[in-house]
Chain length 252, copies 2
């Protein structure tokens, strides 16, 4: 049995999230079935993170254990062929030690959230960003975001369905920048932490958007955090702007 | 009667091109029907350029003549609402003089062609770029591209269905750059001219791709141009990487 580490890119639109679900398509099911088609083995995929319906990944990390003697490149090519036409691609595949675990060895996770700041509906970016019409003040959003960086009780920014034992997390980075995308003015929010609570990034982004629109002052985000209750949340940003972009491991 | 200039963004995937077709959906038909739904008038749209099936636009320019007394902002909002769920958006709308013509007043057109240079199939960029696995030499492509810049007979790079009277055009710019996109390594090709022949950009890009792969030398592009025959064409790039990005008018 050898352990293969996979890097996955996917468009989350047609999936009920990354994790296998009883009642709908998932990234996990699609990848497991593709690996099974190539190896003939009943495999289970483990991933660095769970993503919700509509959330995308540029570089999700995962692993599968395979008995068949197959080169990583052949496995990747075969799985990519079997995955079509599902919008999932294996962009890297290599053999790792048996104690390497995509989820438990992961020491850092990074997300990017895209807001296209314009009045017109999205066309090429439909399902790939959050369209917000009011002009957003990116500087105020960035200032507000700094109140969330650090070691805090993030209860306010946690889904009612969150399964984490503790709401206390350390947020290492929450940067807001205005960039000029192919489709126009865009706000990108970069979030990094060892791990996140369920809906944490989307909840933080929602409150930052309120600040950007001038409906909240930057200090209101600090107060929402201090409240430590879900009712203090201003707004949960929709899933389609969220991208899992990075998982970090000790040896990398 | 007042003339409204529209800036259009669209995902070309579901359309049989910009121009109205007897046997399938087009951008022109969708916009005309949306304007008609708002104004009650039978309008005809004129656009700066024609695009093929699958070709996108970030800022196509067009105009329509409307008798109804309506503010440009209201027309834009109404048309955008009626266009849903078609992936077309009006991003700007203003009143222009009656002698302003989206096609005939246009003195410059710009395209960008996106090649995602990687082995894995595209997911988020599916239908939005050309995926090419062999590592491309962008410097060689740029060098080759410079042989095409200038005043030339572009017969080699012209579709058999091209309706232009003359194959002689002046290509003002053909730049090749390697950029780091959200989805990885990307080659972007920027083309600018007063006007282009049918399939000219895709035909030029196809030959530059052969140079990038090392199958052609940069000088082969000069020879293909000099041959002035379609048979000398190396490869026609697929439509989904092509974006109409700019139309230029004297007053702007």
């Amino acid at each position: 049995m050898r352990r293969f580490a996979l890097t996955l890119e996917f468009d989350g639109t047609p999936f009920m999230g990354l994790q296998r679900q009883a009642h709908g398509p998932s990234v996990q099911q699609a990848v497991e079935e593709a690996v099974q088609a190539i190896t003939g083995e009943d495999v289970r995929m483990h991933a660095a993170g769970r993503t919700d319906t509509g959330v995308h990944a540029l570089a999700m990390r995962a692993h599968v254990d395979v008995a068949k003697d197959i080169e990583p490149f052949r496995l990747m090519e075969g799985v990519n062929a079997k995955l079509r036409p599902d919008p999932i691609a294996v962009t890297e595949c290599r053999i790792v030690p048996e104690d390497w675990h995509a989820r438990f060895s992961c020491i850092g996770r990074g997300y990017v959230y895209r807001i296209v700041n314009r009045r017109a509906p999205l066309t090429l970016d439909a399902n790939r960003a959050w369209q917000l019409a009011p002009p957003l003040n990116a500087d105020a959003m960035h200032e507000a975001a700094q109140h969330l960086v650090g070691h805090h009780d993030f209860t306010t920014f946690r889904s009612a369905h969150c399964q984490a034992q503790s709401p206390i997390k350390t947020l290492d980075r929450l940067d807001v920048e205005r960039v000029s995308g192919l489709g126009g003015e865009e706000i990108r929010i970069h979030a990094e932490a060892r791990s996140f609570l369920h809906h944490q990034v989307r909840s933080m982004v929602g409150c930052l958007a309120l600040v950007g629109m001038g409906r909240w002052r930057p200090g209101d985000v600090r107060d929402a955090l201090a409240a430590r209750e879900r009712q203090a949340l201003g707004l949960n940003a929709p899933p389609q702007g969220l991208y899992f972009v990075r998982a970090l491991y000790p040896e990398e």
